[in-house]
């Protein structure tokens, strides 16, 4: 199957995936929570994927998820409506992303990665040290929420959050898909291959990267907001480097080839984690590291790459 053939098949795969998720969430209510978190992480990973297209990897994007989450925690007592909190969290993360992006898009490769890491560690330590405002490492409990004026509780709240995550994921999936085939998106991959030629054509590479960066911050902000509203508790750990590493890990696991990759990666990751965390409680990071090495060295296309190869084979035979 050709590249464009894969692209055409993608919406059907996405639909099938969404139906499968709803079915699983229906059949196994305890998995609904896990899947909501997986979808939220998938949204953040989609942002990582955009940056990967430009050949840049951010080791600090959990910072934007943490911003989204803390916006929810701070704003929930006064305006606890999901439909207000979600855009507010995204907007805040996006504005911070714009300010940081203006500075950070001057850098590439390791500088880009490590500056993001450094900034996220700054946010982490600020969240931890300013106890009076953020309650430090104890974190903040998110006040009761409502949606469109209706208070949320029990199973209804879980379904609302699952539905919200699915809807937001679908919207961003569509946005990312359109964005990547737009001139702006094509220019993004040109940053990876030959940035100077892009500039010879009169395109500002910084501008192109900035758009992707702000978009990725928005996505991470949305993810953080959903995580905060689902777990109802936010801590500085959301901004810690391990959380950022997790996002990059999921991006590689899912495969950077298609926009479905992040969601495949996130669901795979969360499910493996639920079942494996019990078995490897103490060496969880080590297992992740080994898996990451295995994927990079032996299956560079990730889960998406494996599925694409299977589809191709099915089409041939």
């Amino acid at each position: 199957m050709t590249q464009s053939g894969m692209r055409r098949a993608e919406p059907w795969l996405a639909l099938a995936g969404a139906v499968a998720l709803v079915a699983v969430a229906w059949a196994a209510p305890w998995l609904r929570f896990i899947l909501t978190l997986a979808l939220a992480k998938g949204i953040a990973v989609l942002g990582i994927l955009l940056l990967l297209r430009a050949g840049q990897v951010s080791f600090g994007h959990a910072m934007y998820a943490a911003i989204g989450a803390y916006v929810v925690a701070f704003a929930a007592p006064s305006m606890g409506d999901v439909l207000v909190l979600l855009p507010l969290a995204m907007l805040t993360a996006g504005v911070v992303g714009l300010v940081i992006g203006l500075f950070i898009t001057r850098y590439r490769e390791i500088f880009f990665s490590m500056l993001n890491l450094a900034l996220s560690m700054v946010l982490y330590s600020l969240l931890e040290k300013f106890y009076a405002i953020t309650k430090g490492s104890d974190g903040i409990r998110v006040a009761p929420l409502s949606i469109a004026g209706m208070p949320m509780d029990g199973p209804m709240a879980a379904w609302v959050m699952f539905g919200t995550a699915l809807a937001v994921a679908a919207i961003f999936w569509w946005v990312a898909r359109r964005y990547l085939v737009s001139p702006m998106g094509e220019a993004l991959s040109a940053i990876k291959t030959r940035e100077t030629r892009l500039e010879f054509m009169g395109v500002s590479a910084r501008g192109v990267l900035l758009v992707a960066y702000v978009l990725s911050a928005l996505m991470a902000g949305a993810a953080g907001a959903i995580i905060a509203m689902t777990t109802r508790h936010v801590t500085p750990l959301l901004a810690y480097w391990t959380s950022s590493g997790e996002l990059v890990f999921i991006a590689i696991l899912g495969g950077a080839g298609g926009v479905l990759g992040p969601f495949l990666g996130a669901v795979t990751y969360e499910l493996i984690r639920v079942y494996a965390a019990a078995a490897f409680a103490d060496i969880w990071q080590m297992a992740l590291g080994l898996a990451l090495l295995a994927v990079i060295l032996f299956a560079p296309g990730g889960v998406w790459g494996v599925i694409a190869a299977l589809l191709r084979r099915a089409r041939v035979s």
Partner: protein, 308 residues
């Protein structure tokens, strides 16, 4: 100003002494990271793990039963050399050698994965409870440092040994790289890998040597730090981020520049510890961001031509 100094002078003196000792440690780690990056062109995210493992190993070796008190100092060195020689060559040969031709993103991810693995390996061996062993500090005792008409009692270990070792490393490394044949070969590979290989330099050997040297330096930084602090999980992450801040601020490939920047960042951080504790972790990054905004190539780095 004068009244401020009368009230806070001693605190400032303590901050400066602390900052000097801290800068010495930061220099040891960042100069290794810098060297490895210069030669291999791979930013080793796991460099901080060598620091952490060196520190833990030193605490364990120094705490062996029946060890005479004077032995605690050589044990620090022994721990660092052991860790560097055991981990460095294995990691270079088994893992890094496979990825020299890969994209920078992949190289970063591989060392990041290695970092995750080593982080847990540490927890498996030494647990998550704080580990400490200050035998070496107690051995050397304290000195009264005259400051602004007063005296500050300060440990001789932090006052003389740490800056001493750092200075010796700086001078020794500069001499090694500029005056010995092996050192010049390393510099040649750093400047132009292709040309160096073309005149018959075995780049693989140079990579192995440099990576091992970097690992020993990081482990030595950790080993020297171990008597002055208690070791907890997460020091590896802190260290890699901090040493990256140092080499990015200094400019990649600078040895003397890294020393001055380590001093700047070390002093900045310890002044923050005493006068604005909540900013402690933030100060190094503020310095880095401020420098990079004005000079993207770093304080001492030469501007590099863009690759076409």
């Amino acid at each position: 100003m004068i009244t401020w100094f009368n009230e806070n002078g001693l605190l400032l003196g303590l901050a400066l002494l602390d900052g000097l000792a801290y800068a010495a440690l930061v220099f040891m780690v960042s100069v290794g990271l810098n060297l490895v990056f210069g030669v291999l062109r791979v930013l080793n995210v796991a460099h901080g793990s060598f620091y952490a493992i060196g520190a833990y190993a030193a605490a364990t070796l120094g705490g062996l039963a029946g060890l005479p008190a004077w032995a605690s100092l050589p044990m620090l060195l022994l721990a660092a050399v052991l860790v560097g020689l055991l981990l460095g060559p294995v990691i270079e040969r088994v893992l890094l050698r496979r990825i020299y031709s890969e994209e920078p993103v992949i190289q970063l991810l591989v060392t990041f994965a290695l970092f995750m693995i080593l982080e847990d390996a540490q927890k498996l061996v030494w647990g998550v409870q704080p580990v400490s062993n200050d035998a070496a500090v107690r051995l050397l005792g304290t000195v009264d440092v005259p400051f602004a008409g007063d005296v500050i009692p300060f440990t001789a270990y932090q006052l003389f040994l740490l800056p001493g070792v750092a200075l010796a490393t700086l001078v020794g490394l500069a001499w090694f790289l500029r005056r010995t044949l092996t050192g010049r070969v390393i510099v040649a590979v750093t400047v132009d890998r292709e040309a160096a290989t073309a005149i018959g330099i075995d780049a693989k050997k140079v990579f192995l040597l440099t990576f091992t040297a970097g690992a020993v330096l990081a482990a030595l930084g950790g080993a020297l730090a171990s008597p002055t602090t208690s070791l907890v999980p997460g020091i590896g992450a802190q260290t890699i981020v901090l040493s990256f801040a140092v080499i990015a601020t200094a400019g990649l490939g600078q040895i003397e520049g890294a020393a001055l920047t380590a001093l700047l960042i070390g002093l900045g951080r310890s002044v923050a510890v005493y006068f604005a504790p909540e900013l402690e972790v933030v100060v190094p990054y503020l310095i880095m961001v401020a420098v990079l905004l004005v000079r993207p190539q770093g304080l001492f780095g030469a501007a590099e031509a863009r690759r076409v």
